[in-house]
């Protein structure tokens, strides 16, 4: 019964999505207020029905209802509760339902939080979101319905893929989808602006916080995926340039460009066309990502067995959305206008350079990701693009980007002076340069690339310091407390930039000084890695809720003293009988010690992986600092003020009207 309610809710949601897509858009075009006002209630109703469907599916998982095919395929009575909940999006059908839940959730948030927006604008925004939602609900109902019954019901489920039985499953996909799908709001704002022909600072101010939140979630989602891959896949790497990773990274690059471009549009009124285009690109890349992940066209760690018709459907959706919006852009963008002018050396120029570099980066990733597909489609052989390509291309693009980040945050709008900037930043550069040369020696050995990476990160930190100190000094000169007048948006920006610096520290030091050792160890054997001695003390059997494991005991010794015992496991899950390596990691601010079991070799000996990863946690720490910066910038007062100020106007008008009325009454 419950699954039928879910199925039916989904159909109702589709009906509402179609109304949401058609009525408000026509209303906005014809100026019919009643039709425009349909937007909000319909969007909220749609969210309600999708949420009901999602709740029904979750219920089916919690109660292990194996008469539902999707549940029987992805769950099992032995599966712990938290993974039964996570398993809702552990397969294709459920993850698409999560996608739509996120989309309608974002639409709901827009409908609630933008009470003060002009009626026609909000009608268009919600209408566009309804169009997207219609496409995806059709997709779910026609090709990937999670509520299909299995007759007769299975006695036991086939269980969730052991690889997914991890806390990572509970957090990574929802975060990532929040980000992916969140760009749909920026996209809808852009399309609405094109349709309405109104693209002003107020428009930018409205879409900015939405874009920032989406970007924040995407940043965290990617970072969590990276952490998950690091400890779960057992290879100790944190990024593999896997096509699916790239699929999430491309919208991130475009989204990063978008939040910077939006800043210019809001503050200076420039880059309008460009901002709109970026919003379209960011969302198109999100859709492309969904296509790549869900179609199974790629060989990847994420590519589980899939059905090709689904890929075709998403591809068609992608073509319609991207093609349609690009056509609209080509038609309407020339009317939008260019906005304020600026000099060659100005903050606008630096941000333009930022945008260009980020898009170049996204394009190189796109090339590396799609090229194998194109070659295969043309029948010219099967190839893959190796990770070295991405490293070789990425470093030269990112280096100027990070360098300009320090300068750009300091430059004035409209017109800045290079000599002035040079004077202000010379100490920052000198400090960065000197520490970049010295620190590698302290780490043990000097490498040019390490020095280069450190130069960039120290440069970032130093320019932030100089920028903040300048503000404090200026405040003190006029007798105000040093940190007054710093908006959250300013602090958020500096924080996010500091996150980039921390990220680079992590990447540089891991690549420069990590030690990876695969060894064969008998009981009692020791091996030395980066000053730590690892002693293999044998294995023992243990049991988990739905698996049995061989657990290794690896004693870590430093300077003759016992430091800790690492317990890597080799698990065997009861249902899918698939072996899983569970690494043991000791996390630290300056280094991770990583041990995982390979396989038994002979006579009690095991092959063992021992890794020493210096500063690796800075990589994810940097990402979370970036996300925090984004969140802080989003909560800036002016976005709330903007809504309040607009709110006051109509209420002021009613007051006046009321006063007139009373006066009239008196008279």
């Amino acid at each position: 019964m419950i699954p039928e309610i879910g199925h039916f809710s989904l159909i109702l949601a589709l009906a509402m999505a179609m109304v949401q897509a058609v009525v408000p858009l026509i209303g906005a075009a014809k100026g019919n207020e009643n039709w425009m006002r349909m937007a909000r209630p319909v969007a909220q109703g749609q969210f309600l029905f999708v949420a009901t469907a999602f709740a029904c599916l979750t219920y089916a998982f919690i109660t292990s209802d194996f008469s539902v095919l999707y549940v029987a395929e992805h769950s099992n009575t032995e599966l712990p509760l938290q993974y039964r909940v996570g398993a809702v999006w552990g397969g294709h059908e459920g993850s698409m339902l999560l996608w739509v839940l996120m989309l309608t959730g974002w639409t709901m948030a827009v409908s609630v939080l933008s009470r003060k927006l002009a009626d026609d604008l909000i009608a268009r925004v919600i209408g566009v979101l309804g169009l997207v939602s219609t496409g995806f609900l059709f997709f779910i109902l026609l090709t990937s319905n999670p509520f299909i019954r299995l007759m007769p019901a299975a006695l036991e489920g086939r269980d969730l893929n052991p690889l997914l039985q991890d806390p990572g499953l509970v957090f990574h996909p929802p975060m990532l989808y929040m980000g992916y799908v969140g760009f749909s709001v920026a996209f809808a704002f852009a399309i609405a602006a094109l349709l309405g022909g109104r693209l002003d600072a107020a428009w930018a101010r409205w879409s900015r916080p939405w874009t920032l939140v989406a970007w924040m979630f995407l940043t965290m989602g990617i970072a969590m995926g990276s952490i998950w891959a690091y400890y779960e896949l057992g290879w100790g790497g944190w990024w593999f340039w896997d096509p699916v990773e790239n699929a999430s990274f491309m919208p991130w690059l475009a989204g990063t460009a978008l939040i910077h471009s939006l800043a210019v549009t809001e503050k200076r009124g420039s880059f309008k066309n460009w901002t709109v285009l970026l919003a379209i690109i960011a969302f198109s890349l999100s859709l492309l990502g969904t296509f790549l992940v869900r179609s199974g066209v790629l060989t990847s760690v994420h590519a589980f067995a899939t059905d090709p018709t689904r890929g075709v459907f998403i591809l068609i959706l992608l073509v319609i959305v991207t093609g349609g919006s690009m056509a609209l852009y080509a038609w309407r963008a020339p009317k939008v206008g260019l906005g304020g002018r600026f000099a060659l050396v100005s903050r606008e120029s630096f941000l333009l350079a930022n945008n260009v570099l980020l898009l170049v980066a996204a394009a190189t990733v796109l090339l590396g990701t799609l090229y194998p597909l194109i070659i295969d489609a043309l029948g010219m052989g099967k190839i893959s693009v190796g990770p070295p390509y991405f490293s070789v291309v990425f470093v030269p693009v990112m280096t100027p980007l990070v360098f300009l980040m320090g300068v750009g945050a300091m430059a004035r709008w409209k017109e800045a002076s290079l000599p002035d900037l040079a004077v202000r930043l010379r100490w920052a550069f000198a400090v960065a340069l000197i520490s970049a040369v010295i620190v590698p020696f302290l780490m043990g050995e000097w490498y040019p690339l390490v020095s280069m990476g450190l130069l960039l990160s120290f440069w970032v930190f130093a320019t932030i310091f100089v920028g903040v100190r300048r503000r404090v000094r200026r405040n003190q000169e006029i007798g105000r407390p040093g940190f007054s007048g710093m908006t959250r948006s300013y602090v958020g920006m500096q924080l996010a930039h500091a996150g980039v610096g921390a990220f680079i520290v992590g990447v540089t030091l891991v690549n420069g000084y990590q030690v990876e050792k695969d060894v064969r160890m008998n009981v009692g054997d020791t091996t030395e890695v980066a000053g730590y001695t690892f002693r293999f003390d044998g294995v023992a059997q243990t049991k988990g809720p739905n698996y049995t494991a061989t657990q290794g005991y690896i004693q870590v010794i430093k300077d003759g003293a016992d430091l800790m015992v690492l317990h890597p496991q080799k698990r065997n899950y009861n249902v899918q009988t698939m072996p899983m390596t569970e690494a043991a990691i000791d996390t630290g601010l300056t280094r991770d010690l990583y041990a995982s079991l390979g396989e038994p070799v002979s006579g009690g000996a095991w092959s063992v992986r021992i890794y020493y990863k210096p500063f690796i946690d800075w990589i994810w720490g940097g990402c979370f600092i970036m996300a925090l910066g984004g969140g802080l910038a989003m909560s800036d007062r002016r976005y709330r003020l903007a809504s309040r100020r607009k709110a006051e106007k109509p209420s002021g008008a009613t007051h006046a009207a009321g006063a007139l009325a009373t006066e009239g009454g008196r008279a």
Partner: protein, 160 residues
């Protein structure tokens, strides 16, 4: 006039930058393309010598052997028509099993042994890398043809 010159100069700088960037990208691209070959293609000498490529197929049943010391393993990758011996030093992925699909990356040594420096993992027992599925499909066709031709041959032999 002056501002026009400035603009021209900017455009020129931009174009040169773009050109340099494109060249660099394409060069990096070319030197990092990894081609995929099936055992049949390797046997037909279609695969490059001295350059890294990917080999995919099934791990032949009973072919996995481990050196007594160290972490070196030997196994045979087959597409049911041709077998290629593979040597790999390191830890095999969890789902590496005899009779299952595998993709290995490495170089072909002059004596015909594939020296893998990476054996790629897969994470779903149902999942078969598309390249491997394709290679097996082709080999099946070849096998069918071969048996067809041998039948024809025996037919002609039987005539006189």
């Amino acid at each position: 006039m002056k501002s026009r010159h400035k603009r021209l100069a900017l455009v020129a700088v931009g174009l040169v930058g773009l050109g340099v960037a494109t060249t660099l990208v394409l060069r990096a691209f070319n030197s990092n393309l990894v081609f995929f070959f099936s055992p049949t293609q390797v046997a037909a000498k279609e695969s490059p010598q001295g350059r890294s490529f990917r080999l995919g197929g099934l791990v032949e049943q009973g072919s996995l052997k481990r050196d007594d010391n160290g972490l070196t393993v030997h196994f045979v990758v087959t597409d049911t028509s041709v077998n290629i011996p593979v040597t790999f030093t390191g830890i095999l992925p969890d789902l590496f099993r005899e009779g299952q699909g595998v993709v290995a990356q490495g170089k072909l040594s002059p004596d015909g042994v594939f020296m893998a420096d990476e054996v790629l993992a897969k994470h779903d027992e149902k999942y078969m890398p598309p390249e491997v599925a394709d290679a097996l499909e082709k080999a099946k066709d070849v096998n069918a043809q071969m048996s067809g031709t041998s039948l024809a041959k025996s037919g002609t032999e039987g005539k006189p």
